[in-house]
Amino acid sequence: MSAYQDLSLQERMLLKFEAEEFLYYEGGLLDSRRFDEWLNLLADDIHYWMPLRRTTQAKEVEKEFTVPGGMALFDDDKTILTMRIQRLAIGRAWAEDPPSRTRRLISNVRIDSIDEDELTVHSNFKLYRTRLNSEEDSWIGRREDTLRRSEGGFLLCRRHLFLEQTVIMSQNLSSLF
């Protein structure tokens, strides 16, 4: 599938730059609470997924994550993501009123593969949140994103998120990753 390794250094640099530009932009929209603009960057067939993670014995690490289609923290299509965002705007979304303050750091961006008009990009994230006067959460994890070229630039068509926590140590996951 991946013709990525066959590209020249210059071609790979350009691709990585394009991917990074997109990821920083869409992450910035979430941190700026420009949620409607963020939704416009999602493909209609997006799969936004965060499996459950468990502490396992070293010999059974294959049991660490739940599998696609099973139980998950997020298993959203565009309809659900849209609902999550509409919820914030219409009032009585108490977990986000007053709203969280988020800031995310995206790093270790690496193109994993290219397939026709799609680019699969791996990255690490740290999402820091404070809320009210004293609440503080910090989530670190890994993402596997697939970006699809469209007329207006990239669209996000797959975001799989792997958090480094098992028991979620925060009050909720009301922020988007």
């Binding site: 459950l52 396992t56 059974e60 009585r92 977990a95 009050q171 909720n172 996951l173």
Partner: protein
């Protein structure tokens, strides 16, 4: 309400004045007081039948999962004779944990400190240096992992108690606890789905329990979920409410229909004519003669939320949720997910959709619940605010318990706080009793007549 309501003496904390059933007034310090919390761990969690697993979670010998009884970690494991054992996760040599994974399969539990090794039933089967260092002067049968006093199973749901004086599980559950679990089995046998949603909230465990009976909060707390259409507004908090109260603090609270409505539903189904009603989605799960027999004439008309005292919520979404205490101000919620055997693919997809999107930390309902519970807990912390009473009076002395000839009983009414009052009354009974015989002798009986 005076400071003196909670008193401490050598025998422990006296909470007998904390809740007044006559008025529905509650002393909010029960949500934050450290001494009360420590007593709860002993007198409630240390005595009760605690849900530990569904038998389908650990189908094979050596399969185990971790759970908690109060704050004590227990290993729940199936042994080679197919029995499910519940073992305290603490090596009797230095106290070290012998299992650190949340789930898995193992041949034995091997202590990482000095190598004491335990069989799946907790028996100590060996240690390094038994001959050379202990000079064979240790009796291994005295030094196994400590098992729960009793482990029993009701229709696949395994419970354990640390108290040998606890009554048998089915006696403990009574008809209310049993019907509560039967709700999950109304459409047939179920099996566990891999994955328990777990997260930690900054709230007292009792506020999370209290809330499962609360159909007053739905339209306010979950207003945004109703507006976006993910929660059906018609089902969100119907005025037709039914409350069922059981011995030892079990209860079922929420929507329900009258006998007349049930008869009209049956006639409507038989004739195929008539307007759909808000309760059809529930009632259609209760049509087979076997289901109706299992739930009984009252149980089958209730679509509410059961709580198996102290902390197991049986939800209407093929889920149960444990509210596990983690100190007076912290609670972990653990959502166990199930599917009915033989569900169609579409039914399974819908069920998983509800399980993944309603509750748990990212659930569109529970995000907002957690916010309220944690801030209610915070409201019980202030030096002045914690001395102020809380009001649980809704519907007090306004309703009647109706007794069915079958022995089942219920309160048919509007939105109310009967089950919350019953929970705190029962909680007080548990805290007042020094042991199971005292609790059996002195616990409140479910009310009859006016409530």
């Amino acid at each position: 309400m005076s400071e003196a309501l909670i008193t401490t003496d050598k025998a422990g904390v006296d909470v007998s004045g904390c809740f007044d059933m006559a008025t529905g007034i509650l002393d909010r310090r029960i949500f934050t007081d450290e001494e009360i919390y420590q007593e709860e761990l002993k007198k409630i969690f240390g005595r009760a039948w605690n849900f530990v697993c569904h038998e389908s979670q650990i189908p094979n010998p050596g399969d185990f999962m971790m759970n908690y009884i109060g704050e004590d970690e227990v290993i729940v494991v199936r042994d080679r004779q197919q029995s499910i054992n519940v073992l305290l996760n603490s090596c009797p040599h230095r106290g070290n944990t012998v299992c650190r994974a949340e789930l898995g399969n193992t041949r034995s539990f091997f202590c990482s400190y000095h190598g004491w090794n335990y069989d799946l039933d907790g028996r100590l089967i060996g240690m390094p240096g038994e001959d050379d260092f202990y000079r064979n002067n240790i009796d291994k049968k005295d030094w196994g992992l400590t098992p729960a006093a009793k482990v029993e199973n009701y229709r696949g749901f395994c419970f354990a108690t640390l108290d040998p004086e606890a009554p048998p599980l089915e006696e403990y559950l009574g008809w209310v606890g049993k019907v509560g679990i039967d709700f999950l089995l109304a459409e047939g046998d179920i099996e566990f789905l891999d994955g328990i949603h777990k997260n930690r909230l900054q709230c007292n465990w009792k506020l999370a329990v209290d809330n499962l009976y609360d159909w007053y909060h739905v339209k306010v707390s979950h207003g945004s979920a109703i507006k976006i259409g993910i929660l059906d507004g018609a089902l969100a908090a119907p005025d037709n409410q039914m409350v069922i109260l059981g011995e030892y603090g079990h209860g079922i609270g929420g929507p329900g229909i009258s006998e007349e409505e049930q008869a009209r539903y049956d006639a409507r189904m038989a004739s195929g004519e008539g307007e759909p009603q808000w309760y059809d989605r529930y009632a259609e799960k209760r049509t087979s003669p076997e289901t109706r027999e299992m739930l009984g004439p009252v149980g089958r008309r209730s679509f509410g939320h059961p709580n198996i005292f102290p902390n197991l919520w049986v939800a209407q979404t093929n889920q149960v949720c444990l509210r596990i205490p983690r100190g007076p101000y912290e609670t972990e919620l653990w959502w166990f997910n199930f599917r009915r055997k033989g569900m169609s693919e579409d039914e399974q997809k819908f069920s998983a959709f509800m399980q993944n999107h309603m509750f748990g930390p990212a659930g569109v309902l529970e995000q907002d619940d957690g916010e309220n519970w944690s801030h209610s807990t915070r409201g019980a912390k202030g030096t002045f605010s914690k001395t102020l009473p809380l009001n649980f009076s809704m519907g007090n002395k306004a309703d009647q318990v109706s007794q069915d000839p079958s022995g089942q009983s219920c309160i048919e009414t509007v939105i109310n706080e009967h089950a919350q009052r019953w929970t705190y009354q029962s909680w007080q009974d548990w805290m007042a009793a020094e042991n199971w015989p005292e609790l059996i002798a002195n616990h409140s009986q479910p009310p009859t007549g006016e409530v």
